[in-house]
Symmetry: C2
Subunit: 189 residues, 2 copies
DNA sequence: GTCTATAACACGATAGAC
DNA sequence: GTCTATCGTGTTATAGAC
């Protein structure tokens, strides 16, 4: 573990609390107590509660949008791309379980960056849908409603943060493989 | 539509607001404004903000636990039972989209009934898992990790409330059928 | 960089007039 | 059954001593 600045420590602790109770229910006093300091002292490291949320959410949302772009432009066939998308989610959810909770549940509390977040999410979903549609066109994937396929896959992948902490014995590769089996065999033609 | 009491109207409006911002971020003043009255007047119909949350969540949680018990004790084979579970989720999520949001996202803010809620949820998941395990034992279902199968199905079914409002053209039967195709064909042996 | 003290305001809930 | 007024407390954030 590389050295962690005080600011990073605060953000990590905040994400943990946000996962348990949600952004709105966590007070700066809660966060300060968890950090072993007084609420006023937090403001020497961060400018506002809102800034913490922004840092947590935007960085992950950018990781996803960037990640799926690389996959989309790769050489794999479309089923292979979907497997890589599963791996991307497993990897991010494993490395940042707490942040994923905020991304899923607290994005609507973003004040200055809500439009930017929504544009990232829309871009991500559009690319995901393109992979599925191209897979149907090339007869790799069953001709089921592509939006229902995406909804099924994304619901599972977005819920990983709830489930990974309960299954610490399972490593990331095994999990990604099992999910590929279940999620992809059902749509494989 | 049968006549709706003022209390039911308040609860329905609250559930709608809770879906948009979460329980903690919705104030009694927000709720009163949405109802076209003053915050103090709400207390002639409900005793507290907490009571509203309790009514929303517990009633749905009981519907699920009761529903899966009936399915588990029915005569169908295990794949048929899983199809019925999918129908149960589609039906409840269609009839109570707003309440499903609170059930998923705000259960941790229950104060007096948290233990009861958790016992209902544990009972539900245990029965769900039993259906899957018995389906594997009877060779109806692939011998994949049964918890991963349940996780995949439940993640999708618990997210339905997010997705149903965007697809009003799709009726409940078509949706349940498409989901069965995607979720069950992947595990069908 | 952390503290105490406090500003400025929002919160859930109640009292009592109409 | 709805209102105005308000209580007591909790909230984010700042000021200034150390």
């Amino acid at each position: 573990m590389i050295q962690q600045t005080r600011k990073e420590e605060i953000i990590k602790t905040a994400a943990k609390l946000f996962k348990e109770k949600g952004y709105s229910a966590v007070t700066m006093r809660d966060l300060a107590t968890a950090m072993g300091m007084k609420a006023a002292s937090l403001y020497n490291h961060i400018s506002s509660k809102q800034e913490i949320l922004k840092i947590i959410i935007i960085s992950i949302a950018e990781d996803f949008t960037q990640g799926i772009d690389v996959i989309y432009n790769s050489e794999s066939n479309n089923l292979g791309k979907l497997s890589q998308v599963i791996e991307l989610h497993v990897k991010i959810a494993t490395n940042n379980t707490y942040g994923m909770a905020s991304l899923n549940n607290d994005w609507m509390h973003l004040e200055g960056q809500l439009d930017y977040y929504l544009s990232l999410r829309n871009k991500y979903e559009a690319t995901f849908l393109n992979i599925i549609k191209e897979g149907i066109a090339s007869s790799e994937i069953k001709a089921v409603n592509p939006e229902i396929i995406m909804f099924t896959m994304l619901s599972t992948l977005r819920s990983l943060f709830l489930w990974i902490p309960k299954k610490e014995d399972l490593n990331a590769n095994d999990l990604a493989n099992s999910l590929s089996r279940i999620l992809i065999q059902g749509i494989n033609k």
